[in-house]
């Protein structure tokens, strides 16, 4: 077993760290407070290749492995998960889905601009009444012969307004239940699409979350990914990989808060000494460090399995579940170590705590991850 990173993986980690700590940090509080979309950072990260880092270079991607992706996601998420979620959705849901299941024509037409970051993608699965229960899709894609007619509403869509390319999951054959679901590549500017107002969220406030309404939107038949009825399987397979991204994001939120807590506890004095010298604080730091190391190992194992072409759904569910849970715990403790300063925006940890909460909810709640994990256990043993 080898725990060493390659020179290239370390270089990617450093590049992400340099960008996050030098540029991303600058306006993060203002962007969060005022829900400002991080357009300039998305552009800069696209130019550096982060938005399509997992895509094969022949489709204009970075050609990096999933381990590098975890390292980069952690570094960006230490500073701003509103940005890393854009990176995650684009890389591990939209680009991954088209690259692995799309036709050559679809890759040429849709994947390349997404991999270059010229267009950003959105993954439209959740609905007002279908979140965790993804089989209950009410959005319909009616087969009209040479095209589909899309009707319905999608909720909580990251990049909902800024995306140029949507991957829409919709029901074509209700009688077949989840086996009648399709996935369609949809131009965001197609006639009949209405984007709802920006969601005023608790955390990740500068990411662009909207509901999206489809009213008789015509989608060419050639924009369907896979065979008729492949949509649900597509969503599940793609979300397996997406979980690694969000697990790495949760890991970054935790390690970002931890690094700030360590620094603060070595500077802040109480009762005549730095608070790190008080066992109550030092033990908190020890607990946080162990949890973060566990989460990191789970993320890297899931990434390694994916890179090796081995099944990784179980590992990615474990990584996502555990990293999200400890992100909440670690950020809460980081706020506690900071005391009153932790409760104000200037010290960043309250924002990280707000961001952590979302990682327990989106791309499969912690409870859904436990379903995935427990089903696998019960099938195997």
């Amino acid at each position: 077993m080898n725990f060493e990173f390659t020179e290239e993986q370390l270089m990617i980690q450093q590049a992400a760290r340099d960008y996050a700590q030098r540029d991303l940090i600058e306006d993060v509080i203002e962007r969060d407070t005022n829900s400002i979309y991080p357009a300039k950072h998305v552009k800069a990260l696209s130019e550096l290749g982060f938005m399509g880092m997992l895509v094969d270079p022949k489709y204009d991607g970075g050609g990096m492995d999933t381990i590098s992706y975890v390292l980069a996601m952690e570094e960006i998420s230490k500073v701003d998960s509103s940005v890393s979620v854009i990176m995650s959705v684009n890389n591990s849901l939209v680009c991954y889905g088209i690259e692995n299941f799309g036709t050559e024509e679809q890759k040429e037409k849709f994947l390349k601009p997404l991999a270059r970051g010229e267009k950003i993608g959105a993954f439209l699965l959740s609905e007002p009444e279908a979140g965790s229960d993804a089989t209950s899709q009410r959005t319909t894609a009616e087969d009209m012969g040479d095209h589909y007619l899309l009707n319905g509403t999608k909720n909580w869509i990251t990049n909902g307004n800024t995306a140029g390319t949507y991957l829409v999951i919709a029901q074509t054959h209700p009688e077949k239940k989840h086996k009648g679901i399709n996935v369609l590549i949809v131009d965001r500017h197609s006639p009949g699409i209405t984007v709802g107002p920006h969601e005023d969220k608790m955390g990740m406030r500068s990411s662009d979350t909207h509901s999206v309404m489809f009213n008789n939107v015509k989608v060419p038949k050639e924009n369907r990914i896979g065979e008729d009825g492949f949509g649900f399987k597509f969503a599940m397979k793609t979300l397996d990989g997406g979980r690694i991204g969000i697990a790495a994001q949760a890991l970054g939120i935790a390690s970002g808060a931890f690094e700030r807590a360590v620094k603060y506890s070595k500077e802040r004095k109480a009762f005549g000494t730095e608070i790190a010298n008080h066992q109550s604080v030092a033990f908190k730091l020890a607990d946080m460090a162990v949890k973060i190391e566990n989460a990191r190992n789970l993320c890297l194992k899931a990434a390694w399995l994916k890179d090796q072409g081995k099944p990784y759904g179980y590992a990615s569910a474990m990584a996502k579940y555990y990293a999200a849970e400890i992100a909440m715990e670690v950020t809460t403790e980081a706020v506690q170590i900071h005391g009153g300063y932790g409760y104000v925006k200037e010290y960043h940890v309250e924002r990280l705590m707000r961001e952590a909460k979302l990682t327990q909810i989106y791309e499969g709640t912690s409870e859904i991850q436990k379903i995935v994990i427990s089903r696998q256990i019960l099938n195997e043993f």
Binding site: E8, M11, D18, M53
Partner: protein, 249 residues
């Protein structure tokens, strides 16, 4: 035109420097290595110049004097945009030794411009650039804060006391650059990182060169004393402490 950028492989600037127990050497265990920040800015400017004028500038070469463990630093230079790299297989001893190794390594190459950071962030010698120019018998300009190339003319700005000095030089020459030469160091792109592995990194053996100095001992700076916060209203107390404790007034 070919540009050479001299790269020093230095400990990350946030490293807590430790010494061996006999205080004769730096303890490098656990140290993260980076491109010396001034050299990184020099490299960034060289890349910017090549991007702005690819017809004029054909090649950027990064060079360092160091053992094999310095190669990740050179690979980063390649990932940032250097076209090839040279490593002189030697540990730095002093500035003259380093300058001698650099001079020998490039004697058969054809460079028109050499950029060196003004100093390295570890030993702060601020001598290699000047020595290199002298050993090559090339003109050099120190403390350069901006550089532009127009045809064969090299226009530079130097920061001087109370203002700026604009100068023109030709090629070949050595520019010893300082902060301001580029706004921010270049962050390597995915494409750059991927192509770095295919770029040439030539290893050149060290030559005999006599060091002109040797280190007797190292000493850590005294620990900073605790910070005292004086109430904004209590100016008398502030004045008293500055006078009796800090002894600065």
């Amino acid at each position: 035109m070919n540009i050479l950028v001299c790269i020093s492989n230095v400990p990350d600037t946030t490293t807590r420097i430790k010494y061996t127990t006999d205080q004769k050497e730096v303890d490098y265990s656990g140290v993260q290595w980076i491109i010396n920040p001034w050299d990184e800015l020099a490299l960034t400017r060289a890349i910017e110049l090549k991007e702005a004028n690819p017809a004029l500038i054909q090649k950027i070469t990064a060079i360092t004097v160091g053992k094999a463990d310095a190669e990740p630093t050179l690979r980063k230079a390649l990932a940032c945009g250097a076209d090839d790299a040279i490593r002189v297989d030697a540990s730095g001893v002093d500035s003259f030794y380093t300058a001698s190794q650099l001079t020998n390594a490039i004697k058969d190459e054809s460079f028109d411009l050499i950029l060196c950071g003004i100093e390295s962030s570890d030993f702060n010698g601020a001598a290699v650039g000047g020595m290199l120019a002298e050993l090559l018998d090339w003109p050099s300009v120190s403390a350069v804060s901006s550089v532009n190339i127009e045809n064969e003319s090299v226009k530079v700005t130097r920061e001087i006391d109370g203002g700026k000095q604009l100068m023109e030089t030709g090629t070949p020459s050595v520019l010893i650059v300082q902060k301001g030469i580029a706004l921010n160091p270049r962050i390597p792109s995915m494409r750059g990182i991927m192509t770095a592995r295919t770029k040439q990194l030539k290893v050149v053996p060290a030559v005999e060169a006599a060091a002109q100095s040797h280190i007797l001992t190292f000493a850590a700076p005294p620990q900073k004393s605790a910070c005292k916060i004086i109430d904004a209203e209590n100016l008398d107390e502030l004045a008293r402490l500055l006078h009796t404790e800090a002894r600065v007034i």
